[in-house]
Symmetry: C2
Subunit: 326 residues, 2 copies
Amino acid sequence: MEIYAGVDVGGTNIVCGLVTPSGEVVHQIKRATEVSKGPDAILEKIASMIEEAAAGFAGRSGAAVSVTAAGIGLPGFVDPEEGIARFAGNLGWRNLPAAQRLQARLNLPVYIDNDVRTYVFGEAMYGAGKGFKDVLGLTVGTGIASAMVNDGRLYYGYRNMAGELGHIVMEGLSDPCPCGLQGCLETYASASGMVRQAKKRIQSGEASILQEWYPGERLEDLAAADLSRAYDQGDPLARSVMEKAGTLLGRALSYAVPLYSPELIIVGGGGALAGDRLLEPLRKELYSRILPDYREGLRVATALNNDDAGVTGSAMYAKQRHAASV
Amino acid sequence: MEIYAGVDVGGTNIVCGLVTPSGEVVHQIKRATEVSKGPDAILEKIASMIEEAAAGFAGRSGAAVSVTAAGIGLPGFVDPEEGIARFAGNLGWRNLPAAQRLQARLNLPVYIDNDVRTYVFGEAMYGAGKGFKDVLGLTVGTGIASAMVNDGRLYYGYRNMAGELGHIVMEGLSDPCPCGLQGCLETYASASGMVRQAKKRIQSGEASILQEWYPGERLEDLAAADLSRAYDQGDPLARSVMEKAGTLLGRALSYAVPLYSPELIIVGGGGALAGDRLLEPLRKELYSRILPDYREGLRVATALNNDDAGVTGSAMYAKQRHAASV
């Protein structure tokens, strides 16, 4: 039985799934990452999770399960050719030969890539992008990042650094970004960015139902989902923050469309949960700023398998790399 | 002897060259396009120019010359897979099966593509981009367009429409663009755009040496090269127009860099003749708006073979397509 392991490594959790060659997740487990225990412990956890998932699925299905290859989606800068995690701030990794280490430990082919790329690969090939040839995917969460898939191939660019949509500097924004620039798209339009803008405006005295929900110091607990709730109750501040974020996303995408020419744009990550609250202003801004030739063909959709795309994408990415290597 | 024909078809002239497999142009001829004579006449002219160039080079070199394959760079929207010129406004072509027609007439493999892509392919592979893996090229002329070459492969996108850098709508610009949008980059930063802005400012009463050179109605004759001349004499209006154009180019490229991650940006076309007058403000704006990780590796250069890149690129594009087909 041909089966692939897909692992999505985040700063909080690691999710590991077994995926059929057609992209179906048949077994999945989740564990805390425990960043504080260091790189060796995390690598060992990834390896044992793959073994545990294989054993679990074998027990359930009654068949012998031998994983063909494993794909790992890692945060930060990843060199997929060399198999090295160049830099992952929230894991504390730097130049870690993760693929070789896991390959030696598990005795099976292991391929690594950046987690946004594997997520977008999963959505583009087995989610909302199924059947489309040129797909631009973005994740709207703590930050904003993107990846482009053309005809089943991920786009990488020099040093595999393509896709930093969130660090496009936008006219009219001026907040400092941890990256060192000012006015990056993600300072406003990411899920965290929207929350930060809402807090700032509440603290400067603007009225909002959010203030009733989170009075005083409790404002710290405000989350992106609260903005959607307040939006639905007609809260002007929540509406203003989300509309501006959607507009900014649309504007940044109006720069991406003439360059990449996607047929479909998929919005994923936590921000996808905001749905049309973000997508309506996004589409309005985007379609008003692109050539008619783009406008006619282009669709914008939210992710179909937001929770699973990282696992599916990592596993199917391993399948693709493995097929190319044999 | 393995030799390729490369043809660059413009609204004014057609240039046809014979190119060795290593990208050296060994013979070249140029004829007026004569658009008014219609598509059949232009196709016949392209075919007979290829024959004439082969005969001319055979006569000069004393060797028998048999062209292996021909590549044609055409303006407008081109479908290179189908070999169809979808739409070329300045040639008056629409859905013309140019590749098949020329192939039947010449009895040799003919490949067509958009002229900016073939030009950028030539510069990326055999010009300023030689040795670089991820190259973004742009032409600054009547309009502005771009193409991306990764590891020797041109990037196309949906409907082969990637690379319309000139139709990114820029904040702060509002002039109407013939495309139907307002404030496209090329309304200001193309060679024609700069001339138009200079004329507008002179007509609204701004002082400039250009007014002395082109008094009254003669202002119509103002060309992009005059702006460079006036710039060198310290003319404030020419300096202001070129600096703003360079800044806008740099800003648009600051959107392209996080998306494509090029290692090298090549500025070609007529605008490349402006050299540092454009590139200095371009670099200043670009480098101030991109992540340090991009800034460190990225270079910006003018085209090396501005005149020949279209011919070299078309011929070497034919070589690549031909090699993939046999």
